[in-house]
Amino acid sequence: MKLASKKAKVGFFSLSCCEGCVLAVLDLEEKLLQAFKQIEIVESRLLMEKVKPSALRLDIAFVEGSVVSKHDLNKLQYIREKSDFLVALGACATIAGIPGIRNALPPGLKEKIKRQAIKPIKEKVFPLTAFVKVDYLLQGCSINEQEFLDFLNKFLHGAKPRLQEVPVCFECKLRENACLLLKGEACLGPVTYAGCDALCPSQNVQCIGCRGFTNDANFESLDALFKEIGLSRKERYNLFTYFNQLPEQLKHLKGDR
């Protein structure tokens, strides 16, 4: 409401990631151009010809990527300070995502990677929420473009966007897909947040949890089901830690390694 009169100042920032989420924003094409009537991009490596770090205060900062180094952390804290509303963009920023796989590796391998990485590297890979207040999460790898637009639209109208908090199965059933779990395939749909319109299961591909675990996940039961389907402990461990951090309830999957 308060923003309707002037254009909202927006910045896109990338920490350690593939920049795929900002690319997804670019994929909006015409709709993005339409959005430009209401927003002004002040800082973005991908969306601007010449990037000059701007000292301007931002109405919204979209931050993708995980925090893996001191450099990332400094950058994140700087962005937080100059932004009114900070949105974590994509799996890396919200749940540590793909870079976070490092957290789940066996110790020897972890050390080897650490030695080869750009220094100074952090002990673990973190999502943004580990360090700063995050005002909203746009989940997924990469983010869902429609969800991004809906968020932006709500925000520009002064409405508080709210997280849907439903599992992928909810949307999967609406799309009338055959259940992969019933077919004997290990799918993380029941414990993963929806919003993707059940993209993967609709293509007959199992959900691997890129939108993060729900606050109501029954890990024990799903793990037992995976075991019944015939997944080994290691397979289950890998699936649960693909995008997400291993939940407390499944500590037993770690084994002795």
Binding site: M1, K2, H157, G158, A159, K160, R162
Partner: protein, 275 residues
């Protein structure tokens, strides 16, 4: 044909900042005929639309004897209430209602009344307090016991001073006192020992957080209140007000059409505390 879900236009007449996060909105239907025909019993609620933001249930906090307008006392907690807080005099909103059963006020005649409320739970009780004050001669003694988080969050403190002068015994307590606070400290049930009303001829009206209602009922029973003398207003998630959406379903009852006021005997029959 009437669509029960259709919001009717209303206009904001006045906005009053009560505390840092709470405002009272005085509104009326734009259609004068509709407003003229509008009446309600304290404890009933309206479904209030802030166009583009959504719809929420709000108890009416003004006197049922004041026709021509109604008031809502609203804490800024969510999307819709946040948008509502930016409304100014003359702005439009949508209204449906009134919904719910309301307090059975006629059954309280000749009886003493004990109001017990916590935080913004005072909103629907304020309407009942005004109703009782208006027909003072029909009711016995009146006590109000009000629990708040801290002294800054006490709602209607000026009005309470007035009520005090008009013979209503008002007692407030806070969980977290400020250095200046000289009043009671503790939960609302800690005030019960001060009540001079004899349970035999008294009804208790309660509204507040679920925990408060739970413990208040226990303490009142200890004091000798019977279940049929205690009436609680329940808060539930609601989306329709007409028993369609099922969010407010408690057992086979619906808070929106069978409630939100239930007496303690009814509450015993219902799976209120499901966890």
């Amino acid at each position: 044909m009437i669509t029960p879900e259709k919001p009717e236009l209303a206009e904001v007449l006045e906005v009053k900042q009560e505390t840092s996060d709470t405002k009272t909105f005085t509104v009326r239907f734009e259609n004068p005929k509709r407003q003229k025909k509008f009446f309600f019993v304290p404890g009933k609620f309206m479904m209030v639309t802030i166009f583009g933001f959504g719809e929420i249930p709000l108890s009416i906090s003004s006197s049922p004897y004041k026709t021509g307008f109604m008031s809502f006392t609203v804490v800024n907690v969510g999307n819709v209430t946040n948008a509502m807080h930016s409304l100014k005099k003359g702005d439009q909103l949508g209204l449906r209602g009134p919904f719910g059963n309301g307090f059975p006020m006629q059954r309280f005649r000749k009886k003493n009344i004990l109001f017990v409320c916590g935080g913004c739970g005072i909103a629907p009780l304020r309407s009942a307090i005004y109703a009782v004050r208006e027909k003072k001669e029909e009711f016995g003694k009146v006590e109000l016991m009000f629990g708040c988080k801290n002294p800054q969050s006490i709602l209607f403190s000026q009005e309470m001073d007035q009520w005090g002068k008009q013979g209503i015994s008002v007692q407030t307590t806070v969980d977290k006192p400020s250095p200046k606070w000289a009043g009671n400290i503790g939960v609302v049930t800690s005030l019960f020992k001060n009540s001079v009303l004899s349970p035999e001829n008294t009804v208790a009206l309660l509204c507040g957080p679920p925990v408060m209602i739970h413990f208040a009922l226990i303490e009142l029973r200890k004091k000798g209140f019977k279940d049929r003398q205690m009436f609680a207003s329940l808060e539930r998630m609601m989306q329709c007000g007409v028993g369609y959406c099922s969010h407010c379903n408690i057992g086979n009852r619906y808070a929106c059409i069978d409630g939100p006021i239930f007496n303690a005997a009814e509450l015993k029959e219902l799976p209120v505390k499901e966890e």
